[in-house]
Symmetry: C2
Subunit: 230 residues, 2 copies
Amino acid sequence: MTSPSSDQTPCQQPGTGLRADAERNRDRILAAARRLFAAEGLGVSMTSVAREAGVGKATLSRRFATREELINAVFADRMDAYAGAVAEALADPDPWHGFTGYIHAVCAMQAADRGFADVLTMTFPTAKALEARRTESYNGFLELIARAKSSGHLREDFVPEDLVILQMANAGVLAAAGEDAPDTWRRLVGHMLRSYAAPGAPLPTVPEAPKPRALYRAMVRLSRTGPGTA
Amino acid sequence: MTSPSSDQTPCQQPGTGLRADAERNRDRILAAARRLFAAEGLGVSMTSVAREAGVGKATLSRRFATREELINAVFADRMDAYAGAVAEALADPDPWHGFTGYIHAVCAMQAADRGFADVLTMTFPTAKALEARRTESYNGFLELIARAKSSGHLREDFVPEDLVILQMANAGVLAAAGEDAPDTWRRLVGHMLRSYAAPGAPLPTVPEAPKPRALYRAMVRLSRTGPGTA
DNA sequence: ACCCAAGTGGAACGGGCGGCCCGTTTCCGT
DNA sequence: ACGGAAACGGGCCGCCCGTTCCACTTGGGT
């Protein structure tokens, strides 16, 4: 503050203002959390995140006071991709193809990251960055709906809330099927798209359901680990 | 043992062999567990079940050594209703109406009891009573599918696993929407039935989605309580 | 080279949960 | 009425979680 020769903050890294080693630890925490959230959902213990990152619990608490802060930081970039997907869909010259592609892309993102699947079924009023992206996506999605309806391929009774419902349903399927039947979500989405489509709309065939054996294994695993866990 | 005048066990209650007061406590435990499971899912702590029942933790452990045993006992009668629903559907002279009615009934049972919603997405190999009912239902459901396909109203690409997937999806919607938007599941089921239906099959209109406000409240609540909890 | 503040990890604490033991109460056959 | 066995419930233990405190380390300006 007494060195006007350079008005930069002591640490040149833009935005953070952390010391170099602290910044490194922050990154390790984020990487660890990204891994654990993706694999096991948002319910993982803070302790395990710290252990995975190779830092003490205190360090984790100092950087991210609450679980919500950590979630906010971890999923910032994923929300970018989320918001980007709707822009890409709007660029599609075929409104119906753009619509179905968007739905599929969003659900695929959920499938690729269990934590993100949970994030999409929640809203964090205090997490400005996340929520801004969500609203951005929502507005784009409204436009996508309008165009798809104009093309005559999307049914008139489709409402924006249907996407939220699909995301909730998809989260349920992903949580239940887990690693044992990882493609189950495709069948759900295929069914839903078929229901969204107006008569005559072009539709890819609904993907096949997983083998009963795989589903059975998933159900047995669930009964061992309990509901709400990976 | 030295009184051959009556070869009954000391306790006349058929099947249990428990002392009268023990039997009473057992019933109180089952009632408490039924209440808690229904309201909050299968994840509730054993301690809270004991508290709700007004008995000590030890008593609960003595009657039901594991959570699975308790679940097995609590949902025995619900599984009766579950198996009964398919019989009722098979009795319907209109195969397609029986099919849609069955799907709807099963999902309604999930909606009425969060614990049961979880039970249907799991399988407990050691819980004979439950699993027997499940197989019973499954066989009836196969017949229901066959008839509905013959009637030409159910699409040929429907497979039995689709019901399992629907139950998983429905569990996800119920867990996410909770008390804030308790009818959300109806819209999901409406959509799925529309996708199952062959062209020309009679379908009730898909129920309306809940108001955005209600869904929003549900999503906020989720972010506070965390995923996998009521 | 020095030195202070920023940063760290471990330890201690409070809370909840499940499992187990053990002194006491209650039922039920005689 | 009585005595023994069955059943009870509270208390204790170990475990994991998240939070806070504190003595030590380390970075980076001067």
